[in-house]
């Protein structure tokens, strides 16, 4: 039962992940949003690092950049570790109500471009 549920979740999540990696259409690039708050969880992996951020109104899943780009620009795993306070500017997903794509993040006074 759990296996089936897990598989179903994977099947449902995969297209969203693929779109997130290659698309513009799934994000509302006409409106910039800013999400600010403490990092609750951090996944430093490919194709994109992701963090969840507890903002004032809700918890956002924030899609960052591929790991190689994060490292090249000085955004180490430590910079986006759980507990750090982050400001993420970017675009909200049109498909997922709590997901946003960060164009740049600021942590510890350091701003890093994600694109």
């Amino acid at each position: 039962m759990h296996k089936t549920l897990g598989l179903m979740a994977l099947l449902v999540a995969t297209p969203a992940a693929v779109l997130a990696h290659h698309g513009w259409g799934s994000y509302d690039a006409s409106r910039t949003i800013t999400v600010q708050g403490p990092i609750q969880s951090s996944s430093y992996g490919n194709p994109h690092a992701t963090i969840t951020v507890k903002a004032a109104e809700k918890v956002w899943t924030v899609t960052l950049a591929p790991v190689s780009r994060m490292q090249a620009r000085g955004a180490s795993a430590e910079l986006v570790a759980v507990g750090k306070t982050v400001k993420a500017e970017g675009y909200a997903s049109k498909a997922e109500p709590n997901e946003m794509r960060a164009e740049r993040i600021t942590v510890d006074g350091k701003t890093v471009e994600m694109r």
Binding site: W24, G25, S26, S30, S68, R69, A72, R104, R115
Partner: protein, 165 residues
Amino acid sequence: MLVLAEAPQLLIALEQSALGAAIRQSVWAYPVANVGHIVALTLFAGSVAIMDLQLLGAFAATPPAAIVRPARIMAMLGLGLMALTGFMLFAAEASHVAMNRVFQVKAGLITLGILNALLIAGPALSALGATGANMVVPARARAAAALSLAIWISVTACGRLIAYL
């Protein structure tokens, strides 16, 4: 729109243009351009590889003219489609892509590859096509063919790596 401020004004304007916005905001424009770019690449790289290999001595049993003409047409089609789809992908995030080091290397390699084809490999291929089989390809033309293969493989790799650096 969050542009990269240190990019040239012209490219910031391109990214902020109605075209750039339309490509970003349409559900299908970007993925279609993305798929089209890769399909065009297979057309282009495949036909260029055939021409380069021919200069290097492959397909000796086939009359050169029978390969040169269709391969050339195919390469032109591929290149045109790549330029069109590439421009779409570029326009969507021009300020960011232009400042990406891998993209800059890729642009340089494309220029080099086209110059190599126009000045050395292309004319040598025309000579081979006109002369017929058993022509000895000059060493300079063979070197240009090998260089062409290396350049376009590198361009392909750079294209994929833009997203990762």
